[in-house]
Each structure stands twice: as C-alpha cells, then as structure tokens.
C-alpha cells in the first residue's frame, strides 16, 4: 500500500535497473536527503546538482541529446519559471531539426497547493506546461498511475513533464489499485524502502519486485460512472471531484468523473463520449483560471459538442491572483475545495440550457 512518493521511488528504481535510466538529478535529489519529498531516496543514479534550475534543465536536454534517459527535478514548479525558454528549446529539438534530433528527458516537479506552501510552493504548472509544444505531460492522482506514468515518461524518446501533485504525495493507494508486488502492509513497505532518520550512510533499500507498467499518454481513466454530468479533472482536485460525486449520489445526482492523467496528448475521445451521454460538462483544476487548460477543453466542448449540451459547460479553477496566500483562509479561497466543487456539480446538474 504505497504512497505516491514511494511509487515514484519504485518506478525510478525499476527504470534504472531495467530501462537505462542514467541520471536522476536536481537540488537535494541525491544522498543524504533523497529529495525534498523523499521521492529519490535509495536511487543509485540520483545525484545532487547546484541550486540552479537553468543548469538542471540544460543538463537534462544535453543528456537527452546524448541519448541518456534522465529525470531532472525542479524542487517546486514555482522555480521553473526562469527556465521557460530552455523548456521551449527542449520541445523544439525534434521539430526545429525536422526530425534530426530527439531528446528523451523527463522534468519531474511537484505542483499545486495543499501543503500551505505560500506564494512560491503552491503554484500549478499545467497551464504553462500545456503552452509548450513538444512535451508530453503526465499528471497522476494515484500512486499506481504515478508509477506507470513515470515509467512511460522515462522510456519515451521525447521530452516529458511529470507533474506531481504535492498534496497527494502522502496519500495511500486505494484497495484494488496496488502496484503488483508491493507489500500490502504499509509498515512492511516503509521498512523496505524508506530511509531511516539520522545517519543513512549504511542504509540500503530493499526493493520489492514490481513489474513494468506503462500507462500510455493520452489515456484517461473513468474513476466513477454517472449519467447526469461529466466532471473532468486531474491532480489534487481529482479525488475531491470523486468524493463530491459520491456525496451527491445521496441527492440522486450521478456524476461521471474522469481523471485525465495526461494533458498532452489528451484523451479527448473519452471526454467526448461521456459528454455526449450526460449533456453536461464541468472541468475542474486549480491553476489560475485565465488561459487555463480547462478553458481549452471547454472551447472544444462548445465547438464540437454544442448541440449535445443540456446546459452551458463550466470551468472551476483557481482564482486569477498572483499567488496562493499563506493563511489558511487565503489558500482555501484561492483554489477549488470540496464545497466549491460539490456546489458547482450540483448547480450544473440542475441547470438547463
């Protein structure tokens, strides 16, 4: 019963053992810390870099050009903004050379709110990432998806973003969604792969035997079937949408909830099929609402499914303010929470065109 951060660690281990992952690097990524969220503890090819995001992204591109599968970590996505032109360049390597070069690399970075991270540890990156063509973008909401999507990123011959919702890093696998081979007892798993506190010099992880799972890009997952409305989400807000849908079921509202899992390519056929059935669409994420990825999906919904709709499609997203404030009420007011999601779903279910 792993957490997402443990699942990431197990995927990195599998990748370095079986899929030619050569470098996992970034600030505090190597020993002794093994990552600010402990996602890289015990990984043999993990190493510490200077505190230099441009150096990290540049090195990732260069390693990719040299054919080295690598994962470069930006400790918080908020610190990736000074690398935007390098990310654009990474996405350009294949296109600008008309297929001459390719660049396997994964930029792994924690995203979103949920840990009271204040202005520089709470931002989302999905709107920015989806503005950078040439990248595939994975954003899991369960440990098993994190495991399978990260492996897909690592073996892909193109640049990939692996966006990790930090609010879900410590959330455990739900029964039935385990990674095959992982111990069912969380304490047993912790004993195997969590580094001890204090001196870790002699510590060695004991990795469970977990298989290759490659979750394809562009393959969303329907986490709850429903007839009345379609809710499309990902990352921190996904489990909130599921919970709200379960609660609204008591009121007779049956919402279908789709976890996108990857933003590019995006599983539009699944959204389309669902909206055609329900006639109502709600897109939920926590990035700032103007030029938000949900707006893109909403635009496609209007353009392609207008005559299928029973009510205007809606977007519930983060407030368009420069940051997520530290105080509890500020964070709660800045990004969608369970009550606002539930209310948006309820309103849409009762709304008529």
């Amino acid at each position: 019963m792993s957490t997402m951060v443990q699942a990431i660690r197990m995927a990195l281990h599998v990748a370095e053992e079986r899929h030619q992952l050569t470098d996992v690097f970034g600030e505090d990524v190597g020993p002794p810390l093994g990552g600010a969220f402990t996602a890289t503890q015990g990984i043999k090819c993990a190493w510490n870099s200077p505190l230099d995001e441009r150096g990290i992204v540049g090195a990732a591109i260069g390693l990719g050009l040299a054919g080295c599968r690598n994962v470069g970590e930006i400790q918080f996505c908020d610190y990736a903004y000074n690398t935007i032109d390098l990310l654009k360049l990474a996405g350009l390597q294949t296109w600008s050379t008309n297929g001459g070069w390719n660049c396997p690399m994964t930029i792994m970075t924690p995203v979103g709110s949920g840990i009271r991270g204040s202005i520089y540890h709470s931002h989302s990156f999905d709107a920015t990432a989806t503005h950078i063509p040439g990248f595939k973008i994975a954003i899991p909401s369960t440990p098993r998806d994190a495991y399978g999507l990260l492996l897909s990123c690592i073996v892909d011959p193109n640049p990939c973003f692996f966006l990790v919702p930090k609010a879900l890093m410590r959330v455990r696998t739900q029964p039935g969604e385990e990674i095959p081979g992982e111990p069912g007892d969380e304490r047993a798993l912790s004993k195997l792969i969590d580094a001890p506190l204090g001196d870790r010099a002699k510590w060695q992880p004991q990795w469970p035997d977990t298989p290759d799972i490659f979750i394809p890009f562009g393959e969303a997952r329907t986490v709850r079937r429903g007839r009345d409305l379609t809710v499309v989400s990902y990352a921190r807000t996904l489990p909130l949408c599921k919970k709200a849908a379960d609660e609204l079921s008591q009121e007779g509202i049956e919402a279908e909830v789709i976890d996108l899992r990857s933003l590019h390519p995006v599983d539009w056929p699944r959204i389309e099929e669902s909206v055609r059935r329900t006639g109502r669409a709600l897109f939920v994420n926590e990035d700032t609402e103007i030029t938000n990825f949900g707006e893109h999906l909403l635009r496609r919904t209007v353009e392609e499914l207008f005559y299928e709709l029973l009510a205007p499609p809606r977007l519930l997203a983060g407030a368009f303010v420069p940051g997520v404030g530290l105080a509890d009420e500020l964070e709660m007011a800045s990004v969608p929470q369970l009550p606002s999601i539930r209310e948006a779903m309820r309103q849409l279910a009762h709304q008529h065109a």
């Binding site: 230099d52 540049g58 032109d85 050379t97 008309n98």
Partner: protein, 341 residues
C-alpha cells in the same frame, strides 16, 4: 601558474606545415565566399534573414579541423552559436546546404526550411541544434559533457558563444557545473569575443578585463588568444583540446575576433571597414612565405565564387516546405510506450 593547478601544455612553437596552412587558407576563403553568397542571397530576396560569421574564420576553421566528428559520446559534441559556417566547412559540410537553409528549402538538411541560416544541426556529427538565443548552449553542453565523462575515452564537449552572451546566467552556470569538484567535465568552453552585442560595444557593458579571467575563480584553465591568427588559433585550440581530452576537465578559451559585416541583416549586412580582416592578414603571410601568389588566391576565390553562384541558381529552384508539413516531427515518430517497449 598562480592558480596552483596543473599547467596547460604550451602550444607547440613549431610552424604548421605548408600543407596545413594552405588547407586552412582554402577553408577560410571558401567560408568567406559562402558568407558573401549568403548575404547576396538575402539581398536578392532569396532568404528572409542573414546572420553568420565572416571575420571568425581564422578561429573557426582550425576548430573544425581539430574536432573529432562522429555520432555519440565517443566523439566531440558541438554546441555552436550562429557564426560558425567556417567550422562546419572545416568539418566537411557541403556549403550548398548552408545555402539551402538560407533559402529555407525543403531540402535544407539542418532544419527543412524551419530555421534561419547558420543554425546548424547534424546528429551524425554531434552538432547539436543551434539556437537563436545566445546563451542556452552553455547549459545544454553540461549534459553531453556528463555523458562523455561517464563514457570515458577522449570525446569532449565543445561549446561556443559570443562575448555578449557571457552576460547571461547560462555562462555562469556553465562555469559552475563544468568545474564541480564532484564531477568536473571535459568541456572546451569557447568565447568568440568580437567586442559587440548587436549594436552595443562590449567596452561600455563589461567591466572585466578579460572574459577568460572569469574561469580563474572556478579553477578553470583559461586563456585569451588572438583568434584572428589561424596559426595561433590552431596551436592554442589543439593544446586546450588535448588538456580537456586527457585531464577530463574544462578549459575556457577566449578568442579575440572580428565582425566584418555587422550583427546580421538587421543591421544591413554591409562590410565594416575598421575591423581587422583575418583572411587578408593570413593571405599576406602566405604571400610573404611564398606559399601562394596573389594570382593563385584570386583564382581560388573566383573558382569558389563561381561554384556558389551556380549553386545559388540551383537552390533557388528547389522546393519549399509545404504548409501541411508543420505538424511533422513535433515528436519523434517512434512511440515506445504504445509499442509496449
């Protein structure tokens, strides 16, 4: 040395062989004629923009001759800026391909008509895609150098840029990452100092006496050389490369060069009279040494100019990329995930 580090092997004093001098001259001349042709193409409407390297041939030709070209970490990785046509020709590139990129034809092997001239990219020779931004190559080079350090052997990473680009953070990143005590990198860091940043003179923006002085703070072997002299350039590049190849550590080489036709077509692409011309200077030397007569030089220039004029006519007829090709090569076609590999 004051740094207390292992001294860099001194460049050999011995004269370069007459054959090598003539080869260098041949390539410098051919490169100059190519750049003049690219400018002519621009002025005749056979290209939207020109930027290039006339004035840097005395450094760039020896660099190209000394590069171990090939594909993969066993060979040199090249992270160039956009003034290195002479290096590509010295490596063996066909000048007509530079003209294809100038004319943005579908046959342009570097970008298929997608990028400006002198933005080379050739995976077979480890020439990484040249970017219009003047600094990212200094951090991208870190990655290929890490791969080469791990691979062992004698392959090195060569990164070049201009003096103006050293004001960007990426240059500092390059110095820091290449000299990390945890893993120093086999990287030849080159700055071609032409003393200009577009229209802004170097002298008004940079207080450092020499760019190479910045390497000293990191314990990086560093040197400033006269990049307008091909003999000095050849010897110094050879010595610096040998250091990087064997010691697997970085070397910062600043080459003082000229910019003979301004920044780009944005500033007119006209000859600048008060810059030293390395080709003229070298031809005077060759004439003094009686290796070439003025008439032979003129005949050679005429031959190359005629060849490229002919090529220009042909390139003009080659097809342009189709609009419906824009979605091609966004990703590498292979999708290993879907293939289950």
């Amino acid at each position: 040395m004051s740094t207390g580090l292992r001294p860099v092997p001194r460049a050999p004093d011995a004269d370069l062989s007459p054959e090598l001098l003539l080869r260098i001259h041949d390539l410098m001349l051919r490169s100059r004629v190519l750049e003049e042709r690219l400018i002519a193409m621009y002025k005749q409407g056979d290209g939207f923009f020109w930027i290039g390297g006339p004035g840097e041939e005395a450094f760039n030709v020896p660099l190209g001759l000394l590069i171990q070209k090939g594909r993969g970490p066993a060979y040199d990785y090249c992270h160039f800026h956009y003034r290195q046509s002479a290096t590509l020709l010295a490596m063996g590139a066909d000048p007509v391909n530079a003209m294809r990129q100038m004319k943005n034809t579908a046959t342009d092997p570097y970008s298929g008509g997608r990028n400006f001239c002198n933005h080379y990219s050739l995976i077979e020779w480890n020439v990484a895609p040249v970017s219009s931004p003047i600094e990212p190559q200094y951090v991208i080079a870190i990655g290929t150098a890490i791969a080469q350090k791990r691979a062992g052997g004698r392959g090195i990473t060569i990164v070049t840029g201009g003096d103006a680009g050293t004001a960007e953070a990426d240059f500092a990143s390059c110095l820091i990452w290449s000299s990390r005590p945890a893993n120093p990198l086999p990287m030849l860091i080159v700055v071609a100092n032409n003393k200009w940043g577009i229209s802004t003179p170097w002298a008004g923006q940079h207080g450092e006496k020499r760019i190479s002085d910045r390497g000293k703070g990191f314990g990086i072997e560093s040197k400033t050389i006269d990049g307008n002299d091909p003999e000095i350039s050849y010897r110094e590049i050879a010595a610096a490369m040998e250091y990087v190849r064997t010691e697997r550590k970085p070397f910062l080489l600043e080459a003082m060069v000229s910019r003979l036709f301004g920044h780009s077509s944005a500033s007119g692409a006209n000859a600048v009279p008060d810059e030293a011309d390395c080709l003229k200077g070298f031809e005077q030397k060759l004439s003094d040494k009686k290796l070439l007569t003025r008439q032979q030089m003129e005949e050679l220039r005429h031959k190359y100019a005629t060849e490229l004029q002919e090529a220009h006519r042909k390139v003009r007829q080659e097809p342009q990329p189709k609009g419906d090709s824009i979605y091609q090569n966004v990703f590498l076609d292979r999708d290993k995930v879907r293939e289950g590999k």
